[in-house]
């Protein structure tokens, strides 16, 4: 497998102290600890929540995968395409990935990179809650999905897209 010169970013966000909310950071940790072949240079980025400066992380990359916990998802995980969109929110403490993409285009004056969401099913989000067994299983499945994805050319990623599970709500 020949390494592409293309870089991608995986931005995982969530609070590990809130049970299943920490699925994103956990997934990144597991990916970093596992040896696997990939076509890309992968930048792993972990944060408690999305912030405007994540725009800077989107520079010079071909694609980005946002990883987040999702409440009410009927499947273990859901992978789908994201496009820039502005959201009007009550507080600056809330950023959607679509908003970050929109902010990127408006500030950097370039088209946003290809963007995807990997939403992983979560059920318990209380402070100091442990991760649920079901979610831990979902993280393992999502990890395998990502590993497989990173071995495919970007043009083939579209074939891995799910229908958006309309029942999901992000955690």
């Amino acid at each position: 497998m020949k390494l592409s010169t293309e870089s991608i970013a995986i931005i995982a966000y969530g609070n590990p102290s809130r049970g299943d909310d920490g699925v994103g950071p956990l997934l990144i940790q597991q990916l970093q600890n596992e040896k696997f072949k990939t076509l890309y240079r992968v930048n792993y980025i972990e944060d408690l929540q999305l912030n405007p400066e994540h725009v800077i992380d989107l520079q010079h990359i071909k694609a980005v995968i946002f990883v987040d916990a999702a409440h009410g998802l009927s499947r273990s995980y859901n992978f789908y395409r994201l496009r820039p969109k502005h959201n009007s929110n009550f507080s600056s403490h809330i950023q959607s990935p679509e908003n970050i993409l929109n902010l990127f285009e408006a500030t950097i004056n370039k088209n946003a990179p290809l963007a995807y969401m990997l939403a992983i099913r979560g059920t318990q989000f209380a402070l100091d809650a442990a991760m649920s067994k079901d979610t831990a299983k979902s993280v393992r499945k999502a990890k395998q999905f990502i590993i497989n994805l990173l071995q495919k050319p970007l043009v083939d990623w579209e074939h891995s897209i799910d229908q958006i599970d309309l029942s999901l709500r992000y955690a």
Partner: protein, 494 residues
């Protein structure tokens, strides 16, 4: 304020946000249409102390970072100050102290930048009653293209300061019991020295803009949610602005000193908290004044009102000008929080530039040892105001008691009162208007409350406003969805 429940109608503003926690405003309206009481509900703060109890004390500086996705460093440093005492250390080495200060300046800088550039500036630039489609960061980008990018880069710089000191972007280890984990590298210092040259003028530009926008509508600036109050903050030994360590000062609404040189370690004799059955968040008050009148404000406005000076020249010049808003006494304009916040941004940038010239940042003399104690209290000025961390450990070194008063809690009563004033002024008839909903948001935003003080928050954040009669029958509702659209009678809930 005595509530007459039988004669009040209730208006609920309900931002349904995330799985854990959300904000909500309820307005209690009497038959004459006056807002008798405003209730801002923030459920996020429950469970913090329980979360901390049972953990070994040395884990706390790292653990508490997870309480807040916006200002984890403030919790980190407040906990570290408390844990220093438990480790028997009252005085850090100078290099360790300077590193902590640098870390804190980086945090405050980036937190304030987020609020001003991405939240307050759209309101200020376009007016509070302007089209919501325009009144957002994208609107700012179209008409002031440099501003949003500067905001992002200032935040990024603050993040780089934090990363350089703590080694990681999140959950890093910077402060440890009795000191700091590692010095800055020469390379990091050089890089930050280079970057701060660009950041400093941007912060001055932000300050100039904040001031200009406050004056753009002087009548609004003067009346909007303005109210006389007491202010509480830390100050240093000379009475100057102090963000990391100092003694507590409280000023009365007329500017006279209520309390000064008060040891932060005795905070629990100064401040008490009242629980109210409708709120998960307590109401702190000055013990000497009682719960009815003992409330106070914290944060940038409190700090700039309380201090006698600022030890960096540009910020001090700005403070002097700010205080000239009034002939005597204090600046009570709630919208002046934005201006004061930008004075602090300039101060942080100046202080960072100064500290980056200090060779102590490279020193490895970073840790002091002491004899273990059972109790520690750490108080710090977080971006949103004074933050208290108080811990007691048991014989197994585990935390048996934790008490936290976070800044937003201290502003609880003030935010309620601000919302009440605004709603009283702008409520017209029996319908919630988009303008009223927006203005209530503006009043709350001035305090930059931490509504998402723990989890990240990507989900829906609509605002729902509901008017109810005395029998809780919904009369009218208005919801603002995530796109900013207003939808009438979208949802009626008792």
């Amino acid at each position: 304020m005595e509530e007459n429940k039988t004669k009040l109608r209730r208006i609920a503003i309900d931002p349904v946000s995330r799985v854990e926690g959300h904000g909500k405003v309820t307005l209690l309206v009497d038959d004459d249409g006056h807002i008798a009481q405003a209730r801002l509900h923030i459920v996020e703060f429950r469970g913090f102390e329980k979360f901390i109890q049972g953990h070994p004390y040395w884990e706390l500086p790292v653990l508490v970072q997870r309480l807040c996705g916006i200002c984890p460093v403030s919790h980190h440093l407040a906990a570290a100050k408390a844990i220093d005492q438990i480790a028997g250390v009252d005085q850090l080495t100078l290099p360790a102290l300077k590193l902590r200060r640098l870390l804190h300046f980086g945090q405050v800088l980036q937190s304030h930048a987020l609020h001003f550039f991405h939240l307050a500036s759209p309101d200020l630039l376009f007016g509070y009653d302007s089209d919501v489609v325009k009144r957002n960061i994208i609107g700012v980008l179209h008409e002031h293209p440099d501003l949003a990018l500067q905001g992002i880069k200032i935040r990024k710089f603050g993040q780089q300061v934090i990363e350089a000191i703590s080694g990681k972007r999140v959950h890093g280890i910077a402060a440890i019991p009795g000191g700091m984990n590692q010095p800055l590298s020469q390379e990091a210092v050089k890089r930050l020295q280079q970057d701060i040259k660009e950041i400093l003028p941007w912060t001055e530009g932000a300050l100039a803009l904040a001031k200009k926008l406050c004056f753009a509508d002087a009548d609004l600036f003067n009346q909007f949610a303005s109210m006389a109050s007491r202010y509480l903050s830390l100050v240093d030994k000379q009475g100057q602005l102090e963000l990391y360590d100092g003694s507590l000062r409280i000023k009365n609404s007329d500017g006279s000193i209520h309390t000064d040189n008060y040891k932060d370690s005795e905070y629990d004799q100064l401040i008490q908290e009242e629980a109210r059955d409708w709120s998960y968040m307590n109401f702190p008050y000055l013990a000497a004044e009682g719960p009815a009148t003992g409330w106070y404000r914290v944060g940038p406005l409190a700090r700039v009102n309380n201090c006698d000076g600022i030890n960096t020249p540009k910020a001090e010049a700005a403070r002097t000008e700010f205080r000239q808003l009034v002939d005597e006494g204090l600046v009570h304009n709630t919208l002046a929080y934005h201006w004061a916040r930008m004075i602090e941004v300039v101060h942080c940038a100046e202080a960072i530039a100064d500290l980056l010239q200090d060779s102590d940042l490279l020193s490895k003399d970073l840790v002091v040892k002491g004899e273990k104690r059972r109790e520690g209290i750490g108080v710090i000025e977080a971006p949103r105001g004074t933050l208290f961390h108080h811990y007691r450990i048991d014989e197994q070194d585990q935390v048996e008691m934790a008490n936290l008063i976070v800044s937003t809690t201290s502003n609880n009563e003030a935010m309620n009162e601000s919302v009440r004033l605004v709603a009283n002024h702008y409520l017209d008839g029996r319908e919630i208007t988009p303008a009223l909903l927006n203005l209530i948001e503006v009043a709350i935003r001035a305090y930059d409350p931490c509504l998402s003080c723990a989890t990240h928050a990507v989900g829906q954040m609509p605002l729902r406003v509901e008017l109810q009669d005395t029998n809780n029958k919904p009369l009218h509702s208005l919801m603002k969805n995530q796109r900013g659209d207003f939808i009438e009678n979208a949802q009626h809930e008792a």
